[in-house]
Symmetry: C2
Subunit: 143 residues, 2 copies
């Protein structure tokens, strides 16, 4: 794992009086390697098939820590299963979701981000995070 990321993880853990365990390392390493939008069970299964056994409970506990400290972002797409994507150091983006095939397409629009900030300033709302998801039918599914 990249030394910078690992050091940040160690710093976070120390600050929170948490210990660096094989399991926590394995979850983070796995998320860095496969950069999709992933359900906890997927992570669990993939770790298991790599021979790195981490319990489901620990996967859930670890992604929660990683989200809290900005390593991961949690997505809720309305199907009752949370997805996580690696985000540390990457540019912000939002998501389009195909309601036919489930495909997730990423998009960025800095104008929207600016307008969003302006709304919050105008309304004296301190923005922490946002969700902007577009649901519709992707190019492939239209044919």
């Amino acid at each position: 794992m990249d030394k910078k990321i690992l050091n940040k993880f160690k710093a976070v853990l120390k600050k929170e009086q948490l210990k660096l365990t094989k399991q926590r390392h394995a979850v983070l390493a796995n998320m860095i390697k496969s950069k999709g939008h992933r359900e906890c069970d997927e992570i669990y299964d993939q770790l298991k098939s790599n021979g790195e056994n981490v319990s489901r409970a620990t996967v859930y506990r670890t992604v929660a820590i990683l989200e809290k400290y900005g390593f991961l972002r949690k997505l809720e797409l309305g199907d009752g299963r949370a997805r996580y994507e690696y985000k540390l150091g990457l540019d912000h983006h939002d998501h389009m979701v195909c309601i036919e095939c489930g495909q997730i397409i990423e998009f960025v629009n800095s104008e929207i981000e600016l307008l969003q900030d302006k709304i919050c300033i105008d309304m004296n709302f301190k923005l922490v995070r946002h969700i902007h998801q577009l649901f519709g039918v992707c190019e492939i599914c239209q044919n």
Copy 2:
């Protein structure tokens, strides 16, 4: 209940070979009357306290129909409980959610809506619906 709304509801039900029952009427009437962002259990409790007993199962089943046909909009704010708001004939808006007190503030920004449409056109994505939620600290909770 407003005759236009009731007629539209009747038309929808007929089209779908569903029957107009006391319970379905009660749920719709209740949603029209109290225009908040409401959990199913709230609707259930309020109906019960009005003496109009509708089972939880029927509340869930009815809001699903009402959402499908545009009477209601479903909100998922990330706490695992869906909220519904009445929307038929009302202007579109999105939501800011205070992470301290849970307050839901509505906002509208037509520029963002236009940019959103443009993104979808450019990417050949047929937009059906969207979620734009801003999470942060409201004016009151900042003091």
